[in-house]
Symmetry: C2
Subunit: 359 residues, 2 copies
């Protein structure tokens, strides 16, 4: 098992990464778990892992809320039902909310923890690669609103994150790929050496090699932790983590959430962002080709759906959360391993990049 | 106009107190107001002050949400409706939510600000004495749940608080008295000199003398600000602010919210707490009489309703939020100007104190 600390002063917390951590979780999380534990999980994860987790928690008071699977359940209604269930337990403000599931479960459970008694302890046990390398770290919690994703939520840091690569053995391969999109993102935006490592180890990752997965997750989390420590509430640099996301969100919205997985849309979005960077003269064409090749090696798309026209793109991007003062802010690579936030991009470059099809 | 700063590092903010601040509010709040402002107010306050406030905000983009008056509207439903209205404006994460109203408006608007885009700027313009000396300072936001008050919410500090004593000229006298209960609380729990000042100036306060009100509000806010700076999230000392509240909440619940005003219930609760303190040998009987006399001078009750029996008290107090590990924690004065948090109180003393009637 490896460990890293997200440095946030009095809100610092450990991330534990390894394979087969379930049998020792109570020991690992000891100081982060209270007597009363409210587990939030979903219908897919519960049959696989809930009993094993409960068995490890021993003599604590445990209550469970099982939500439906999928992004469609990440609503104020589900959140409010979870709070009703939590309040029905009689648990006090010294309880722990434990998220056992992917990003949807983590985001919703985190907002439950953030808003119950104005904030109680929260522990993340992410079960998908996407949540292990992204949403479980950094304290963003939220639910969706009919007007957009993650519009209602809070910053609420967990007490601890326990990442068991063993969970990934039950993950559909398409979701594994979607998680790899965010892993590749860290390489592009901040760590060219890690990018090169990924080029070498992508076959091992796709084959669920536990040591390679632990390594990739550690490096991803370390990258995210550094950015989050520096800018917890996204006043500046944290927005870099949204590389590929402005375009990705537009694709997700255009297709209706659920058609494209988030990671797939981000992969296409990153390809678009790199394309623009090449046109601007920042990224080498050869590096851009490396990005496309790596995305393909992870079974990820490298262009947006052909059906989206420019009007649709404009509308969807203007509704993105990264809009400030009416200007869309883009995160663009400056070559491999570096990225910037900018609202100065010629429209013609964007039009060309979003519409380019790459077979 | 007087000013004090709530010291909370990067989240520090000013409180402005004075009479007739409305005509210069844009100037006073300049650095705390963004271009997009979402005003949350209620049906009683809106006809009195909304247009005057909007007129002062000049060329900013303004949208308004008017909620029903009263504690019954402080629900997840109203909160969710306010968020719908805010999202419908298209305002971005760099907007300001402005609360114009009493504690209910402030608590709900604060939770809207806390949860919109994971937290946006928030400004309080409290219009009741209770909210001016208590709920508008300290960052507690919340809505009620059928299972209890303030069970769902967040800590979210405002950017500024503007307290205009002129608002109190339109406040029903019963609500003025309810606010004075919290003012008296600061004297009992932390400031014997202020208590003596209140004994002298209570008639002036009851007569809405603007200078006396400004003085009383400043000293109350300074006391609260000191406690909050020291213990923002109520891990310890901040609980002292709940003097009289364990008993008070029980009275409010027993009577059904709305029968007794919160401040009235707190007044009776403080009398009970002082009674126990006398029995324990901490408060002088003479000081206890001074407390009762001051409460009466503010037209406040000094005992609980005779209809409440001991079984009801026990049940209601065990459901209080201050219960930890199954033990009810009481805030008790140690004489005038000092208080402690304790779970060690002989049941017989409590039984006697809650049932004593004082005409």
């Amino acid at each position: 098992m490896q460990q890293l600390i997200v440095e946030l002063g009095s809100r610092s917390y450990p991330i534990f990464v390894g394979s087969d951590l379930l049998p020792t979780l109570a020991n690992t999380l000891q100081s982060s778990l209270n007597q009363q534990i409210f587990i939030i999980t979903n219908e897919v994860v519960a049959p696989l892992y809930l009993e094993a987790v409960k068995a490890q928690l021993g003599a604590r008071d445990i209550a469970t809320f099982v939500m439906p699977d999928g992004e469609a359940a990440k609503t104020l209604t589900t959140w409010s039902e979870a709070l009703d269930a939590l309040l029905a337990t009689g648990f006090a403000r010294d309880c722990t909310v434990l998220a056992l599931g992917g990003g949807v479960v983590g985001d919703l459970a985190g907002f439950v923890a953030a808003s119950f008694h104005r904030g109680v302890d929260f522990v993340q046990m992410p079960t998908t690669l996407l949540s292990q390398v992204d949403s479980s770290v950094g304290g963003k919690t939220a639910v969706n609103h009919p007007r957009g994703k993650n519009l209602i939520g809070a910053f609420h840091q967990p007490k601890a994150v326990l990442i068991d690569t063993h969970f990934l053995t039950s993950l559909p391969s398409r979701e594994l790929s979607a998680g790899l999109a965010e892993v590749i993102k860290y390489g592009i935006m901040a760590d060219a050496e890690f990018f090169a490592w990924l080029e070498q180890y992508m076959p091992a990752l796709m084959a669920l090699d536990q040591r390679a997965l632990t390594q990739a997750i550690m490096r991803s989390c370390r990258c995210k932790a550094e950015v989050v420590s520096d800018d917890e509430r996204e006043h500046g640099r944290r927005a870099l983590l949204n590389l590929g996301h402005t375009f990705g969100h537009a694709i997700e919205k255009a297709q209706g959430y659920g058609e494209w997985l988030h990671g797939e849309a981000v992969a296409a979005g990153m390809a678009i962002a790199c394309d623009i960077s090449v046109e601007q003269g920042h990224m080498l064409a050869a590096d851009y080709e490396r990005v496309l090749t790596l995305l393909r090696a992870a079974n990820l798309p490298t262009s947006a759906p052909a059906s989206m026209d420019w009007d649709e793109w404009q509308q969807l991007m203007l509704r993105d959360k990264k809009v400030q003062g009416g200007k869309v802010r883009f995160i663009l690579p400056r070559g491999l391993g570096d990225a910037v936030i900018t609202d100065k991009v010629a429209e013609s470059l964007i039009v060309k990049a979003v519409s380019r099809q790459r077979g």
